[in-house]
Amino acid sequence: MQRIGVFICHCGTNIAATVDVKAVAEALSHEPGVVFSTDYQYMCSESGQTLMREAIREHKLTGVVVCSCSPRMHEATFRKAAEKEGLNPYMVEIANIREQVSWIHKDMAEATEKAVILGRAAIAKVHLNKPLKAGESPVTKRALVIGGGIAGIQTALDIAEAGFEVDIVEKQPTIGGKMAQIDKTFPTLDCAACILTPKMVDVAQNEKIKIFSYSEVESVKGFVGNFKVEIRKKARYVDEDKCTGCGLCTEKCPQKKVPNEFNMGFDTRRAVYIPFAQAVPKVATIDANNCTMMKTGKCGLCAKLCTAGAIDYKQQDQIVEREYGAIVAATGFNPLKPDKFNELGYSTCQDVVTSLELERLMNAAGPTAGTLLRPSDKTHPHTIVFVQCVGSRCDVENERGKSYCSKICCMYTAKHAMLIREKYPDTDVYVFYIDVRTPGKNFDEFYRRAVEQYGVHYIKGQVGKVVEENGTLKVQASDLLSGEQLHIDADLVVLATAVEPDKSARSIATMLTASMDTNDFFTEAHAKLRPVESPTAGIFLSGVCQGPKDIPETVSQASAAAAKVIGLLAKDKLTCNPCVANSNEMLCNGCSSCEKVCPYGAITYSDKEFRGPNRTTLIRRVATVNEAVCQGCGACTVACPSGAMDLKGFSNRQIMAEVDAICKM
């Protein structure tokens, strides 16, 4: 028989005003096994915990019931206090008499009666509680970062800095991501390449970091500390180890007409290419869809030219299996294609461009060598209209856009406007905005500079229609503050399109069993307190894959994710949740019903010898639960017909004891 102590918390007046706490303590003191029952003003306070610890000591308690707020609030607090006194923490149960009683019932007699019943149920459960000990599992001391943009790069560098191995898997031929395409960065206006490329070089030179470029994650198995990942290294038809990145092939390849995705299609590249000069790894890639040799078997010029002998037309995709202790999703974003906003002319007018396209049109390494020219006729634009919030902040029922604010557009548009006015003072720049959102250090000052110093025309209103006539973009818009409808003849229109998570994120989340929101952003374990962790243990989030953010924020979050990864990899062993499934081998039929409903693959089977009747032995197939993998959902316990499978901490008998206590009026 357990020796149970019962503690009724007043929670100030939160409970005591509605529940007669003294009466509850008195009633529960008569329950079987209860040797101590009292009430106290704040059980969660230091002195409340001391009261409990003293009672455990004095009355030699083997079990504790606290009637208080929700266990989601203070179960951990009370269990920790009990543990300090040498009592197994899993011998403590909570009866929720605040959220489930005092806060929702008005009548004191009724509330008191229900509090007693809930207390009885908790006591009944404690009678069947057993001390539980958390198991341990080892940790593979290597991390995987999925995505090689600035988020992935920063996370990898920080993890490597702490002395752990990191692999980066990047689906493009080079790391660098979106930041590599950007011209200048706000609010300092320094050049993106100047601050990004040194970090890319650091990654390449770091002995702890291995880059799988032009590669994708194929499958993920295992659990926190023990992931097994298959990586598909896509055939790039160039031997990475041999290629010196000399670039001869990329200059001589006769197939010149491939749209250059790095420059947003404003110019062309060859079929064998290195995306940009500072690419890491600096290795050529053959684009099989456009290579004459790959398509027709006739050409082979690059192979003839390559002195290193790196070209290999027969290369195949390769699957590499690697083990990791932690995985970081850094899958990034893409700008929304504004083809559902054709009133703004994106599909019909060449000179209506997106902001990322404008980055390339202004970049010194871009298709116009940094001179801002219109795509249509390569002339200088003199009137430029920026449209904010294209595809952002749409009603959820509006299938054209996203419901969220993309967060970065206000700032980069101010940056664009300012850079243009700086370089081409004869240009008129209009920005149509709904709200200007600039929270961030030096951000509003930056925006004000665009207005005050650079004379950018900020207009509160939206553009309703853009029509091209005789090379001029006729912009029809509203100016809400003056109550006018404006008709502006513009030369260039720039759409600040919403960011959206990369398309690969959904399938990666499925592989990682990490949850996503309706917009396909990864969900964090806690919106405020655990923002860089996924609810799935061992999966961490870095950068825009978790939600829109700018570069400074991405980098801080990337480092935060790295810190969490380092915290995990620094451990030699992980403590597991002890409330896991457990199979009674004597009862197990080995029928595999449990295995079929286990979402974690935590159940395995083996043939074991058992003592049969008359001193015989017989071999039976029985289930074993891997306690490090089991998350304790209990699906298997119901699938099991023989009752062999049970859940520690929520056993069949414990739950039935609660049922009995509740129904016994």
Partner: protein, 145 residues
Amino acid sequence: MQDVKEFRPTIVAFCCNWCSYAGADLAGSSRLVYPADVKIIRVPCSCRVNPLFILRAFQRGADGVIMAGCHPGDCHYTSGNYFARRRMTLLFSMLDYLGIERERTRVEWISAAEGAKFAKTMNEFVATVTALGENKRLEDLRCKK
């Protein structure tokens, strides 16, 4: 008129820890009233609810049993509520087949953010079961007071 004592049902609510129990907490912190007849048992996931528990509750005097879990697709354990949904669909259909009032059992998906739905569901369910009256068809007279 006869002097009958007002019938108050006993309702057992199995709530999953991650969504519905948190939804009940939210109902509490939002001070949304529902009858004291409802008593909640916390389980890790709706898939932990064994038909045995439901029958057991009826045996011991429950007049209604409700199971609440995360919305399909939102299970903390990814698939638990999908399995629970199949099990309860079949179990409830069987109880109905045996002539036991199907209104005494219910499944509802309630998220951690749906405190209001939790209170509304419990109010509705208590009203339904109160209207049905005492559970006679799955009672065990030995367990009656």
